[in-house]
């Protein structure tokens, strides 16, 4: 961090946007200050993505375009953006754009937390959409997990990857889908844990998902090829009907019942 104490100016009701997963110490500090945290990686407002075009190329990670769109419209007091090995170079460059564009502090962090919190939600029986919602919401809290509330289930399918920009694709999976990849690292609060990120279960059909134009597309494609029953999938802003059909057909033809829509 460039400043000595960038959080000194924050009031209890300050609005802080986060991009990626800032270190637990930062989240703990924001929590203790009573700051309102907004996860800028998720759509927070319903407006046209095209509004980001003056600032970012149209062919760019949809998560970071969303973060910038949120930053344009939410009246924030500060942004904390992780640019370490648990995020990406794109976020580093977006932090430069955000700092130039806004009159609020944009704090860069490098999250290298390595204390595993566990990942019970990733392996429990629950709709995949709900699991992802809870995991992403968990980024705003430094509190420990409650694994006893989420017992593991036997997996029938796998979802590997990052939380997608369009959560609708998650509704296609069965409740017994286990989560792998960076989303598992998110729940574990170790976003830079490359070894954990590369793990998959070769016993269950798995979709290896990455956002289009994200560096993780290479890892997703690589692991899908290694997996005996994997399918690589990338999606940009929204999940098209043909992409939905690919997921449905893959699960169906793999003998896994997909969730009815």
């Amino acid at each position: 961090m460039k400043q000595e104490n960038p959080f000194a100016q924050l009031r209890p009701d300050s609005r802080v946007g986060i991009v990626g997963i800032p270190p637990l110490a930062v989240i703990g500090r924001l929590n203790s200050l009573g700051a309102q945290i907004y996860d800028l990686d998720e759509p927070q407002i319903n407006t046209d993505m095209e509004l980001t075009a003056p600032f970012l190329p149209r062919v760019y990670c949809a998560i970071l375009r969303t973060a910038l769109l949120n930053a344009l419209h939410l009246e924030l007091d500060m942004i904390v953006i992780d640019v370490g090995p648990g995020k990406c170079d794109c976020a580093l460059h977006v932090s430069t754009v955000l700092q130039d564009m806004l009159r609020i502090p944009v704090i860069r962090t490098r999250n290298e937390d390595d204390v595993p919190f566990g990942h019970p939600l990733c392996e429990t029986k629950m709709s995949l959409l709900e699991k992802l919602k809870r995991i992403t919401a968990g980024v705003q809290s430094a509190a420990p997990h409650q694994p006893e509330k989420f017992p593991p289930c036997r997996p029938t399918a796998g979802f590997w990857g990052v939380p997608p920009r369009d959560f609708s694709l998650l509704t296609l999976f069965p409740d017994t889908t286990h989560i792998y990849g960076w989303t598992r690292c998110m729940e574990n609060k170790t976003p830079a844990d490359g070894e954990l990120e590369e793990m998959f279960n070769a016993e269950v059909p798995t979709i290896f998902f990455a956002q289009s134009f994200c560096a993780k597309t290479a890892l997703a494609k690589f692991l899908a090829a290694k997996h005996p029953h994997g399918l690589y999938l990338d999606v940009d802003v929204t999940c098209s009907s043909s992409t939905q059909a690919k997921i449905q057909a893959f699960l169906e033809l793999s003998g896994v019942g997909h969730a009815a829509r």
């Binding site: 029953h229 043909s242 059909a245 690919k246 449905q248 169906e252």
Partner: protein, 223 residues
């Protein structure tokens, strides 16, 4: 039981289990479909409008291939009016799939349109030596116009366009040595001859075959 594959330009039908047994599959132009038509089991991008029971196109294609292809390892490509999609099988199991509805947009439709517009017969056009680099039917047409203005014959320009589309579809499906081909373009000798691999055409009714398999094995309907 009436099965139907509702395509963009043509719809394919087959009646099963009637008093006379299974009927022959048949075609109707999509623009001529009766508005109040209902079928028992449907696939195709337009299918949900006409039936309460719908099978997605990739699933129908894959199941059709399972019924029609004896080899354990194969790639089956469906070239439609509006999109291209493929499934690949390894040791009799699904290995990969793809559906290109954006960059593969309107390839089949454009091929048919060009034949009528330039009054050509694809049965009489030779496969050209050269090709255009084409990823989309609509964008690819500008290559034809540029070629014609540079003095190349309309027939040669269209043939290069068709070959470009075939090469794009071939690469999209993973550049296999042998490709099983599904869809109306199986009847287009210029298109089939433009692939740089061995082509086994399966015709227009592969997805209908997939619906038959779905009805038989997954809906427990006796046929």
């Amino acid at each position: 039981m009436l099965l139907a594959d509702f395509g963009t330009s043509y719809c394919k039908f087959r009646e099963l289990g009637g008093p006379a047994g299974a009927g022959q599959p048949y075609l109707l132009a999509t623009k001529d479909l009766p508005k109040n038509l209902r079928v028992d089991l449907a696939t195709g991008h337009n299918g949900k409008r006409f039936s309460d029971r719908y099978v997605n196109e990739l699933t129908a294609l894959a199941r059709g291939g399972e019924d029609l292809i004896a080899a354990p390892d194969y790639v089956l490509l469906d070239c439609g009016s509006r999109d291209i999609k493929y499934v690949s099988y390894c040791h009799g199991k699904l290995a990969d799939m793809g559906w290109n509805s954006e960059c593969g947009a309107s390839m089949g439709f454009t091929i048919e349109l060009l034949e009528k517009y330039y009054n050509l017969d694809y049965g009489k056009l030779a496969v050209p030596e050269r090709t255009f680099s084409i990823t989309c039917g609509v964008l690819g047409m500008s290559h034809i116009f540029d070629a014609v203005t540079s003095g190349i014959s309309e027939a040669e320009a269209v043939a290069r366009f068709v070959k470009g589309i075939a090469l794009n579809a071939y690469r999209f499906s993973g550049s296999p040595e042998t490709l099983y081909l599904s869809g109306g373009l199986c009847d287009n000798p210029l298109f089939v001859g433009s692939f740089p691999c061995n082509i086994i055409p399966l015709g227009r009714f592969v997805l209908i075959k997939g619906l038959e398999k779905t009805a038989r094995e997954h809906l427990s309907i006796a046929l």
